[in-house]
Point group: C2
DNA sequence: TGCAAAAATTAACAAGCGTTAATGATGTTG
DNA sequence: CAACATCATTAACGCTTGTTAATTTTTGCA
């Protein structure tokens, strides 16, 4: 499973992971013309794509959404992976209520709003895919609430790992038995609402249980069934097409 | 401030709280014809409105979305108030990943999907309002994540109160200095990820601090500025029109 | 009005997790 | 390759919150 190389491939792969595309839909997406731009850590995507008539499409590298609290702490709200459309919400909401964080060099593409709207109108399959994407975003947020609100440390971190692995796999961006986790333990803490120290303790527990293994940045999953059980992970909320048969 | 009496009024009030409606938009909404139905606690709205071609509109009484966990505990994900469209997501996602809870007798209306789509197409203001509603739903979920993930018990419960009061007020469904809280302490715990006992302790703290007072089901807000400060509540994420001036 | 059920409250105790701070490991840059 | 910064790890301690269970109060209903 090698990762797709072009921006178009990634967008198509993303949309196909959640909806059915007809050959016409795929062709229309392939014919879409846009320029890509490299964004470095600590740069702002919004500033880069300041043209308010353009949508921003994530091509390479994960980003996360977060809120900064008055006391200085951060809460990470979600992760976004290649193929995701980043600012659909800026289309209809004026003020942004959160920030976007970039940790590794990212590649983004900019597409005019009008182009996307025309695309959605002309290709019903694409329009449905956009709607599904938005609604799945919300479904992921709901599961995130369960994670930080109801699970104890070990299943909580296990669940985060399960979600990332499953989503990456659907995009063909993971290895068979693991993936490169682009997160420090401090960031895992900000995503799960746990302190850095406790994240460390908990990861060690997961390793001692032979559920996962760390090899540098690579996170190997030693016991996928066991990890899912520990996390109470049910991928249904991701509404992935590959899971619909199951 | 008395609550509006008809389903049409409530829907219009809801949409006007988040978007600008033209006189034509309002007329079109007034002319919308639909039947309403009473739903009692522990009944399922989805079963009631089993026609998959119809959308369900909440007319009276709050509902909440929740997930049931394998160990039997519940996590409440969000509250919905009169005027909200409940199953936009069933329009595009086949399987529901959560349940809807009804605690007090509700009144709901059913509108065919086609009608809503036509309405959105013919009246651009209404189409924008539907999109904004969906995106604001997600924004509320994000703030909910911050609440359960990052805030300690007292600000956490204070924040829930602030959100409900602000949203009810925007719909003209609150009193000037408080509102009827249709929640038991156990439910507040399920919404905030706290145990019932600790919810009780924390509510007493808030009362001792003279921020709120309980009078039966009525929750009186004694110090609105202080409560917001305690909760670190910034209503911007609700994207309410009434707040845009501020 | 009176009874039963649900909800709120209190107490005692346990434990999971946060905090602080120091040390070791890893990676990065000139 | 050395110096530095970032990140992972460990330890000690305490506090917030959970758990269990009993009691009181309120609510709802006959």
């Amino acid at each position: 499973m090698r990762s797709p190389s072009t921006a178009h491939d990634r967008l198509i792969r993303k949309l196909e992971s959640i909806a059915d595309l007809s050959p016409d839909d795929r062709r229309a997406l392939q014919d879409l013309s846009f320029g890509t731009k490299l964004v470095l850590p600590n740069q702002s995507i919004v500033q880069e794509g300041e043209d308010p008539d353009q949508c921003c499409l994530l091509v390479k590298g994960p980003i996360h959404r977060y809120k900064l609290r008055p006391n200085g702490s951060r809460q990470i709200l979600s992760f976004h992976l290649p193929g995701d459309i980043l600012d659909l919400q800026n289309l209809y909401l004026t003020r942004s209520d959160h920030s976007i964080g970039i940790v590794v060099p990212n590649q983004v593409a900019f597409v005019p709003h009008e182009t996307l709207k025309t695309l959605a109108d002309d290709c019903p399959g694409i329009g449905v895919a956009f709607w599904r994407d938005t609604l799945i975003d919300a479904a992921i947020l709901r599961e995130w609430i369960v994670n930080v609100g109801a699970r104890s440390a070990q299943p909580r971190i296990a669940h985060l790992i399960c979600e990332l692995f499953t989503r990456l796999k659907a995009l063909w961006l993971s290895e068979e038995d693991g993936f490169t986790l682009q997160l420090t333990q401090a960031e895992i803490g900000e995503a799960t609402g746990l302190s850095t120290v406790h994240v460390n303790r908990t990861l060690q527990d997961l390793r001692r249980s032979n559920l996962i293994a760390s090899e540098g940045r690579f996170l190997r999953i030693l016991n996928w069934a066991g990890l899912q059980r520990e996390a109470c992970f049910d991928p249904a909320y991701l509404h992935l097409k590959t899971l619909e048969a199951a």
